[in-house]
Symmetry: C2
Subunit: 122 residues, 2 copies
């Protein structure tokens, strides 16, 4: 069902957890299944995302996508991170089965919500 990259990120998800002193936190429920995903971002004075963690109640595809998103985003500036699309996340995972792509969209949505909030609060 899933390729080796997806299985690796599902079985050994990167950056799982919470950041107690996060700069921004965002959480959302998937409209299709109700599963929530939450991201914690630590952003420094130069708008660099120095740390990012997540937790999710979602399925293997949601876990792998959130995990891959954290790897793509960590160390990037807010501006660079906003250019990362769900397609880039899915491509980096080597693809997802078509019925599971919607489970991956949530990660991008929650991260953008967090970044929007950061920009608005600045």
């Amino acid at each position: 069902m899933y390729n080796d990259i997806v299985l690796d990120h599902f079985q050994n998800p990167r950056n799982v957890g919470v950041i107690e002193d996060a700069t921004v936190v965002a959480k959302e429920a998937s409209p299709s299944c109700g599963d929530t995903t939450e991201f914690f971002l630590k952003i420094d004075d130069n708008d660099v995302i120095t740390d990012i963690k997540f937790r999710t109640f979602g399925c293997a595809a949601a876990i792998a996508s959130a995990s891959m998103s954290t790897e793509l985003i960590k160390g990037k500036t807010v501006e660079e991170a906003r250019k990362i699309t769900n397609k880039m996340v899915v491509d980096s995972l080597g693809g997802l089965p078509a019925p599971k792509v919607h489970c991956s969209v949530l990660a991008e949505g929650v991260i953008n919500k967090a970044l929007d909030e950061y920009v608005a609060n600045k």
Copy 2:
């Protein structure tokens, strides 16, 4: 979203893994989301289920339900195990959010498929 019993079974799922010399193995994909769940049962000569393990690509509700199912079934006879319903699993979990009940149904379906196969092969 989830109560403490569900969260406990999601975060510390019981009996995750495979049984290499299982008596019966069954696997199915959820019709609603495509996530697969697989159960491995070890059944002795007296029809007692001495060991049961599972693995799933499903969400928190699927993991918690599979985990609770293994606790209810381990040590039971095949006949007793067939009387365990999805409602009993969900009740033992202290309930699930309505949109996530369908994620829990798969565990019962896969276990019954395994037990049917065992009975048919006897």
